[in-house]
């Protein structure tokens, strides 16, 4: 009997950590640290999936935990590290305007997400109650990050972090989607990252920079 509340608390702790990491990413100026934070986020995600798998005794969740560990802690961060090394933007620092305002908007988004998810959280059984709000909040915060960033690489990290939030929703709220779907999603994310990589080189070649503010020419007038 004592074991169940413990794992529940542990998952809640991990969920809180996840939210904290997204906030940290929102305020992080260094691209290198941003990627490291993303890897950390992947690790927390894998850990929480593992704990959910252990508590609910769902075997396929062990596979998704392993998949997360492999893809989001090892493969994708390594790919991104390689990319920033080859593109020579390893030590780049972004100029973010108004971090405090962004943070305040972020807090508002979290409150909004919790309100939106409240009726659904009522329905969730057992260990997963209330986590869907956190998942939705991290999805919205990642969206905010995509809006505030001007560098192509940090936009992509934001995109991947958005995907992490969705994955957290899938494991926490529904105890895992069917494995075939998860594999498909993982494949899509991997291919997307490769294509993003190709894009970085094309963008750099064409615009001499990875700043996407060069790419605001197409407009209706």
């Amino acid at each position: 009997m004592t074991q169940v509340p413990f794992t529940l608390q542990f998952i809640n702790l991990l969920a809180a950590l996840l939210l904290l990491i997204v906030f940290a990413m929102l305020a992080q100026r260094r691209i290198l640290s941003l990627i490291n934070l993303f890897a950390l986020q992947g690790f927390v995600l894998a850990l929480s999936t593992f704990v959910v798998a252990y508590t609910t005794r769902q075997h396929h969740l062990y596979y998704s935990a392993a998949l997360t560990l492999l893809l989001k802690v090892l493969v994708l961060p390594l790919l991104l590290h390689r990319l920033i090394r080859r593109l020579n933007v390893r030590w780049d620092v972004e100029t973010l305007i108004n971090i405090p305002t962004t943070m305040l908007v972020g807090i508002a988004l979290v409150i909004f997400a919790f309100n939106l998810a409240a009726p659904i959280s009522q329905l969730a059984q057992g260990i997963t109650r209330g986590l869907i709000g956190i998942a939705l909040a991290s999805v919205l915060l990642s969206l905010l990050m995509m809006l505030t960033r001007r560098k192509a690489i940090s936009q992509v990290v934001a995109f991947l972090s958005l995907e992490n939030g969705l994955f957290f929703a899938a494991t926490s709220a529904t105890q895992g989607m069917p494995l075939v779907v998860e594999l498909g999603i993982a494949l899509d994310v991997l291919v997307a990252t490769f294509i993003f990589g190709i894009f970085f080189f094309q963008i750099r070649e064409t615009f001499d920079s990875l700043d996407i503010s060069h790419m605001e020419k197409l407009k209706d007038d």
Binding site: I120, I195, T206
Partner: protein
């Protein structure tokens, strides 16, 4: 049997993509591409006959599901993909001749073209709402490098916008799918069957309404980004204008339909669960907004491909609106409009593609007097424009007429809005196309003969649908409309 037919339909483009990945830089790659698309079309016709004969079926352990609604889209998709491949053969040769494309770019194009067809066919035929999402995302991934094929700054910007916006949109659709699974799991239990559409459809009355409501909002916004619904449309004109014309034709004629099919699948479930007109109202709202905003933007366009991209937004809005109204007549009209819009819009893009090659620019003010130099391109464009503007006797007139009369009956207040928007669209497109087709010329002849048979085949079909609807086709639409409710 059905397993085998479906397997053929899906494996031919996949195999074609593999073949073209190897042989894509050979001189006969374009012919191979057309051959593969032709075979896919044959397979789709065989499958369609089968489904019309014996009704909806599931295949491969229920992972795939084919009914009258999606098989109609499968046939349409395979047909337009085939004619577009025929068009792209001379078109891409001319682009190569003009020095805009290299052999390696064409290699990528052919391989991705087949892979794109494959992803669309998977998205249409899958029974699994999760795989549907995976296939939709894969469709974005296969086309994003095609949009930036020319490697110009503008095309890179367009592709980046397409990638990011559709990526975010589709991520929201994934959240909707997760919510759907969350609701389904409570009824159907954990494991594989809880995302299968056929199972969900059986128990839709028991699915938790509050969850499904939220799920549908996410699904509509997510897949709606791909349909190009306002205000999520901003990627669409850029991607259509900056990508190669065959890609614009398949994006506009096919991908938007596939995304709409995904929304309709979700709508059926939500309607069953809620028992209200919630989903329909949302779709009507988005649809109406798209029609109006796109019509207003049409008059400001200077780039010819961009203008027709806005026209696609307008027509997809109209279709979404009609599906939102629901009922047998509106759904019938929406499906008819999907068909005629796909055929007409791809025909227009074919003609526009050659017109742009002749003029050397996409700016409308520099394309003049097409009829003088090449009557076929000129007439193709003129007739296509007439058709898309809803002039009788073309099929677009029939479907728009049906949609507007139903709207007049069910939601009278929307009729003036629709009519004014269609009027504005008519005035802006017609006014701009007139000097392009008639008048003194500025354009040059092409180094290779253009491919205009697809244009006239499409327009002929649209004309036929306007004058005479074959009874089996009408039956087919009616059955599909009954399935969607």
């Amino acid at each position: 049997m059905i397993d085998l037919q479906l397997l053929a339909l899906l494996l031919i483009p996949l195999f074609g993509s593999g073949m073209l990945a190897v042989f894509g830089s050979r001189p006969w790659a374009a012919e191979l591409n057309s051959l593969m698309s032709g075979c896919t079309f044959v397979a789709s016709v065989v499958l369609a006959m089968r489904v019309i004969d014996s009704g909806p079926q599931v295949a491969f352990n229920e992972q795939f599901f084919i009914d009258q609604f999606n098989v109609f889209l499968v046939a349409l998709t395979a047909f337009v993909a085939f004619t577009t491949s025929l068009f792209s053969r001379p078109y891409m040769r001319i682009e190569q001749h003009h020095g805009k494309l290299s052999v390696s770019m064409l290699h990528l194009y052919y391989s991705m073209y087949q892979l794109f067809t494959f992803t669309m066919l998977v998205a249409l035929t899958t029974n699994n709402m999760g795989i549907l999402w995976v296939a939709m995302e894969a469709a974005t991934l296969t086309t994003v490098l095609l949009v930036s094929l020319y490697r110009t700054p503008a095309s890179l910007e367009a592709a980046w916008k397409y990638f990011i916006l559709c990526g975010v949109g589709i991520a929201l659709a994934l959240f909707g799918t997760i919510l759907l699974y969350f609701a389904a799991e409570r009824v159907l239990g954990e494991g594989g069957t809880a995302l299968l559409w056929t199972h969900l459809n059986q128990v839709k009355g028991e699915l938790e309404p509050t969850v499904l409501k939220l799920a549908f909002i996410f699904l509509l916004v997510g897949y709606g980004t791909k349909i190009g619904l306002v205000p999520l449309h901003s990627w669409l004109p850029d991607a259509h204008a900056e990508g190669p014309t065959p890609v614009s034709a398949v994006l506009s004629g096919l991908l938007l339909n596939v995304a709409l099919c995904a929304v309709m699948r979700s709508k059926v479930l939500v309607d069953g669960s809620l028992g209200t007109h919630f989903a329909g109202n949302l779709m009507m709202g988005f649809g109406l907004l798209s029609v109006v905003v796109a019509a207003l933007f049409l008059s400001r366009q200077k780039d010819i491909k961009r203008m027709f991209a806005y026209s696609s937004i307008e027509h997809m809005g109209l279709i979404t609106f009609a599906f939102g109204m629901g009922g047998p007549v509106a759904t019938f009209a929406a499906m008819l409009h999907m068909t005629v819009h796909s055929l007409t819009k791809s025909a227009i893009f074919f003609a526009v593609g050659h017109a742009v090659q002749k003029a050397g620019t996409q700016q409308m003010e520099n394309i003049r007097g097409l009829l003088q130099v090449s009557p076929t391109v000129g007439w193709g464009l003129a007739l296509g424009t007439f058709a898309i503007l809803g002039m009788p006797p073309f099929g677009v007139f029939a479907s728009e007429f049906l949609i507007i009369t139903t709207a007049m009956h069910e939601y009278p207040w929307t009729t003036p809005v629709l009519l004014i928007a269609l009027g504005i669209a008519f005035a802006s497109i017609f006014g701009k196309m007139q000097p392009i087709v008639f008048g003194e010329t500025t354009v040059k002849p092409l180094p290779h003969p253009p491919a205009l048979i697809p244009v006239f085949v499409h327009l002929l079909l649209v004309l036929m649908l306007g004058l005479y609807m074959p009874p089996y086709l009408a039956d087919w639409y009616r059955q599909a409309a009954a399935l969607l409710g």
